[in-house]
Symmetry: C2
Subunit: 172 residues, 2 copies
Amino acid sequence: MLLFWRSTTIFTRKLVKIQIIQIGKYKNDNYRELADEFEKRLSAFADVSVTTLKGADGALPRERIIEDESRMLLGALEKVGGGGGFLVVLDDAGKQFDSVGFSEFLGKRKDNGDGVIFVIGGAFGLTDELKGKADLALSLSKMTFTHQMVRPLLMEQIYRGFCILNGKEYHY
Amino acid sequence: MLLFWRSTTIFTRKLVKIQIIQIGKYKNDNYRELADEFEKRLSAFADVSVTTLKGADGALPRERIIEDESRMLLGALEKVGGGGGFLVVLDDAGKQFDSVGFSEFLGKRKDNGDGVIFVIGGAFGLTDELKGKADLALSLSKMTFTHQMVRPLLMEQIYRGFCILNGKEYHY
């Protein structure tokens, strides 16, 4: 009976789905390796997936890059979103949380059975059209960070959030 | 005459002194490599130096680690500070700037001829005594970031600040 109970527990444990869609290849392996490390740790708590799209042609004018990249992201969202996930765009001017508040946000999504889709734009950001589709604009800081740095930062904060929710001590 | 004017310009150009004192060895080379990269770029604008102190014994109780590490940092400050620099401690609960505001802060220090000393504590933070000695408590975010991640982040923001002051385009 104990064996049966255990296996049932394993099969019914449904992890919340966390999807990250980001644009522009990594310019530096350090960002990738840090993001990968936190993604691996996060996978204990969430069904996490990351999609990295190739960015727009860097020789194009700034406005055109924003438009092209936002269109690519919208295309990817149609594929992966499937209408179910809570859509968060990263935006300097968005809502700020402290880490406990962010963990509560993640906990609510989990309780509602929603997945969360995070979109990280490129160096010049996103169109208003794409921002308008989001359920939440999230700001990690009043300061402008590079979009490459935002990737490990966000992954670490999601991991930290789930550590807080699960009462797991985590200090660095 | 032109040659003479040029050499004078070179010898009288005095770079503002930026000192960073941080505690705890790097746990991961990715943080170090990113911080080093931005330090190298920053050295075009500032006379930058970084001192990394060995952290307290990790087996000690949390409060004891905070006390020990703050004492080590105070000792290092006495050595390097020399009474001249403007002292900034990194603290989640401190003042937030946007990147332009932070560049203005750096510009003011430069105009005043002050150096700036930034102190980044360890995983558990700093004593109130050390915080009380600071001219400014600076928060990079409402969120809690790892003290290791704060190193490249801060270096990048200082570099970004000097790029803004010097009208140098910089997008990532």
